[in-house]
Symmetry: D2
């Protein structure tokens, strides 16, 4: 750590899966990177007193509160880290920005385009006052993903022709898996689409430097009714037996989000793309896979093997061309100088550590971190186009511009 | 070989890539399988006398002719094997059936739905007279593919939720690759769609036992103008320098087929499917890959590793679940009892050997081989739906029924 | 974290690669596991005041000292964590045990069998007084490795026939890589053999539950003279240009350890084993790979993909047998309940986190952690047998018993 | 096929596994390669009249005989192809050479060094008379293997440091698998060592261009007694129930060959090598795997994926280094111009087709094919050194020179 005494006092809202992952990152980031400021895990917020007190103790936060408005109003908080379900992102982030706090907000930015637009506008206003904001598309900071972007930016792939992105999981294949909040539209906004589809939308736009301009989509809910849960936290849940009337038929409720979303897209650089997000891909646990084909080369990435990147360089002698499995663990690879010797792999959690690194650096040096709320709004606009296309028989649907035309 | 003296005298039309592959299969099939009839490589047909004479000698055919009508009219030919480009399939196959010859016709069955309907009708008529017909979707006979179908049929995958099929090649990424017949609509019917997309349509319908009912599609031609070739054969070609006026600007012509086709589909059993066929996937040489996810398991197949099948069995103890890489080289695996000891892999060509095995057996025993022309018509109807959907802004497009409704 | 207030105050000696890895583990362990005691990162020790002060600040230790005797003599230290090169393990560990401190000592336990015997004896004595000791063979705590052991222990592999273990790196392939301490026998004891060979010896004995009884070995030093370094730390170093007399010929010194060691071994359960440790395997960064074949099944592990385990179950139906790639990221897998959802991989560093977890639990509950110093002595005895065999023309050499016969 | 009328009339002795594989190759070779002579499958020889008659019919040989001496004595045979078990190689090959026949002899060349020396001497004598001889180490002709050799020869790997070769199978893991001829020393010479170990000895010497100079070895027979077979052919066999006296205890016999052989070796170019051949590696069907590490790069080959080669080029930019999976299916790759378009894989059998191609070309053009009997003798000398080392407690054992010193 540098000799700096500057501290960034973080207040985090939420303590489930994302809260735990963010805590591990805040705890680690200054231990491995030499940064112009130190994060202090100052305050954690959750609605249930017992649970948040326990989380504060377990995860290592100095204090806790049960009221996010309290968190935002405190003078000793510099950064608000929003790790709640999507339905509260807008309210919390808007209040935090208004209070002059730097904001790191989990993805998807919001549950609706309208919310995302409002948040983006607020972020723009706040920026003028030196307040920073960032959306947590953490996979951009997987070293292999950052390296993919560099290869594309350096022209190593030539003209991009194809993007092929899937994000596959299987945690709700069992029809008896309960109706957790991620399966409820009012809480989660959408299902696989916003939860994991948003990741591959952002990642592919980030890597290619191109934006999706239009889509043709289909969404599906395979299991339309599920048992009500006793309670849920993160991705785990158990069926509430007590919801049953007679011990045989537990109470059920409708699944109001998509189980799977697939769409074809065009990017503004001319590429043709396919996307698939599903929670019904048996055997696929966290299979974010991206392949990009260009006129001069191709890259392939698989989040389950996140320390590896496959790169095909079509400018090499033809008899030697092949997909090279690069272990992205060298000190020269993005973010990796801080870690272990080559071949000693890092885990999923450090996509967040790297994110916190860049966020702290941006805040401390007065720069704007990326992805901005505007970037995240663009993802939201794609999600919106997908939803609309699916509603009108998959007809081609343009992604709305981020800056809405002014009505005359 | 059995003690049978029954011979099936084969006449093959075409001698390029498919002709060579079929020859290797006809030559081999009775050497490894004990069948009720022996194929005799009696006659090969091509338009160029010198070339077809050379092909006959090199590939091992008893005789040659330059007129396919001659081939069909001969009494000493029992089977007509159609290996020409798609624009002549209908004419040759219809004539052959009318002449009472058993017909094996390469895929896609035809260049248009109308042709495919006529061929199917003719096949139905001929069947009544004991004449057999089959379309050459050879990948059904890759042992791992046959095994996938058996797993599905045995209920090992449960309810099919997802089909994910790609067939990727890269042989025309270079804009200077010439305008061979496969890039001309009047010869080939379509581009990647009919050439390789047809394979994954048939394969996935075969494996799942389900039919595609509707699609939403996009097609693309990335390189719209290419140099005219000096001549072309199979997948190889060279640019005709003499087409240039001043030595700098070779004559070019328009590419009239798709370079890539992507579509989302629904299957009649409820599965959601994605398909992609492209000749612009740099680094992918013959990458037919299929993944099928069901409620009880998943399978994955890759034609570049055609002796392997990945199978995920979700009924196993949860801590031991994983994709098993099955080497489909055991004597108990489909078609494999005739080959080498376990672990000694077979090549692409034997998908044809197995096809010939089943064709010979069906003809000799008076059974109908599959896929029938009707099966191939169904693929043609999907190709047609894809083309129509792409023309109307990707709007959802139903696959027409094979039996057209009678107009009143 | 539990409600316990019990604290284990840790004093760590060394702050290079292992020091950083251990720090990350001490920092993390109580944040993810609920344990009967909390580790406190109390004191770090190193010889260079400036560097150790910086390390204390960067890695997050409460205080620092430059004298390990001071560290051991303090009353407010409960645990001594020895992360120095092998030549000081014995002296520090013996003093720490004598002072009643629990000791965690990095591997290999010592540079000689004599030292290891003395340490084991001291650990036995200390155990009677409730003092715990453990050797840091951290790879035992990779979840997939722990799972391999369970599969063997459960009889899933049947009778073990073959062990095939390699640990390959390539960081000294370049003859200009300098003569760091790891290449000096007086500091490191041996080269690839003790550094990485020790890991695969321990790991395979741990997994199989069998001990190596004899070996036939070859060792090799490919590059016998190297430039002297300006200084070295961990695995990194730079050549000291100032060592050169005339600017052209830098001072060099002899490499006194092995670059590679290969040996054949027999295990006491009847298995035949091969081992290879090398720093000259170009392209292999941290390739610890182990395959074990038994009469009923096989397992394969690769440290570069440490979240995966391949398991072949020969009791399944023969047509479905194959190596299953198990993602060892389920909550039911060893150590994984504390981490992320399935498919979200963990990194190398958590082999240490899991080690600290088990160490803390053992100390807090008064149990003996494994691997004990006696276990580590057994590894040392194998290293010794390898060295002796290599010196006598690879002749078969028995591993000495841990308990030396008493001379009369 | 060229316009040549020159025919090479082949007489093959043996019709089991190797006989079938050779037949497929003889049948195919002139159909895919344009060669200066045509092979004619003239005569097949086996001891059992019924079986050899059937084999002639099934495999497509013009005629058959039950006496190999008859085969050799005929004027209308140019080439003798020896596919029998090892105990008859010497007698047949010596007689054939004496009769002026070109000889292709399966590997291992013989069952003893003495036989191999006699055969080599005879081949040298015959060469002077224009008679050609070759030993069937067919894996040299796998395109990826040939390419490995070229990479090494071109200096792309730099100085070879390590060779790591395994050939693993599992067909006798079951103790009830019967005592087939391959498990009898008097028929087979040795077990895994000569059968599959010989392949990796030849292959690695071929690829590296280096010879093994000494070894330290261990061999093992895990199952020492097995049921007597009813009969055996190739790799398949069934237990002879009639060998049982009372229906419960079938007659058994001793296994007189090794089940597994492992050895460390040094090559004359300075490389350190490990070899393992086993028939007890559960789950490994035909796993010939070779990795070679040099100062500038590495290569990896796996026979179960024989169309692929992994190549690591350490001269590339460090951040892009990785093992490239090269699909060795391009027309520019060794032997591949005759086959299918890129990505369409070939099978195991074509290692023989390529072998026949080179043999025919050498015979027709009056050149000496490789590997010569002298090359095969060198492999035999390594097998002999392995056996001797295993007998003397693994002590380092020099490989005898091919030209034995004259005793005074």
């Amino acid at each position: 750590m540098s000799t700096t005494d500057r501290e960034l006092r973080v207040g985090m809202v939420g303590y489930a899966f994302m809260g735990a992952a963010h805590s591990q990152a805040w705890r680690t980031v200054n231990r491995v990177y030499d940064l112009p400021a130190r994060a202090r895990m100052a305050l954690i917020c959750g609605r249930d007193t017992g649970k948040v007190a326990d989380a504060a103790d377990r995860l290592g936060w100095d204090a806790y509160t049960t009221d996010w408005r309290d968190l935002i109003s405190r003078d000793d908080i510099d950064v608000v880290d929003v790790c709640t379900p999507g339905d509260s992102h807008a309210e919390i982030a808007l209040a935090a920005l208004a209070a002059g706090k730097h904001v790191l907000c989990e993805k998807p930015l919001a549950n609706t385009v309208a919310e995302a637009r409002a948040m983006t506008a607020a972020a723009d206003t706040a920026r003028a006052a030196g307040v920073r904001s960032m959306c947590g598309f953490n996979y951009r900071r997987v070293p292999a993903v950052t390296m993919m972007r560099q290869l594309v930016a350096d022209g190593r792939l030539g003209v991009i022709r194809h993007v092929r992105a899937t994000y596959l999981q299987d945690w709700i294949v069992d029809p008896q898996f309960p109706l957790v909040w991620r399966l409820q539209k009012d809480r989660a906004g959408s299902g696989a689409l916003g939860d994991i589809g948003a990741h591959i939308i952002d990642l592919t736009q980030f890597v290619t430097g191109q934006r999706i301009t239009g889509v043709s989509a289909v969404t599906e809910t395979f299991v339309k009714e599920r048992p009500l849960p006793a309670g849920s936290s993160g991705l785990a849940a158990s069926v509430d037996g007590s919801g049953s009337v007679d011990g045989n038929a537990p109470a059920t409720g409708p699944v109001t989000v998509d189980d799977a979303a697939v769409f074809v897209a065009r990017l503004d650089g001319g590429a043709l793309a396919t996307y698939e997000a599903s929670r019904f891909a048996t055997g696929r646990k966290n299979a974010l896979r991206v392949e990009i084909n260009g006129s001069l080369g191709s890259v392939v990435f698989d989040l389950e093997r996140l320390n590896e990147l496959e790169f095909y360089d079509a400018t090499r002698p033809s008899v030697e061309q092949g997909f090279s499995r690069i272990l992205v663990t060298e000190g020269e690879h993005p973010y990796m100088s801080a870690w272990w010797p080559p071949g000693h792999i890092i885990g999923y959690e450090h996509s967040f550590t790297h994110q916190m690194r860049d966020f702290i650096e941006a805040v401390a040096t007065g720069a704007d971190p990326a992805p901005s709320f505007a970037d995240a709004l663009q993802v939201q606009l794609v999600l919106d186009a997908v939803t609309r296309s699916a509603e009108i028989g998959s007809s081609w649907t343009e992604v709305q511009p981020a800056l809405a035309a002014v009505a005359v």
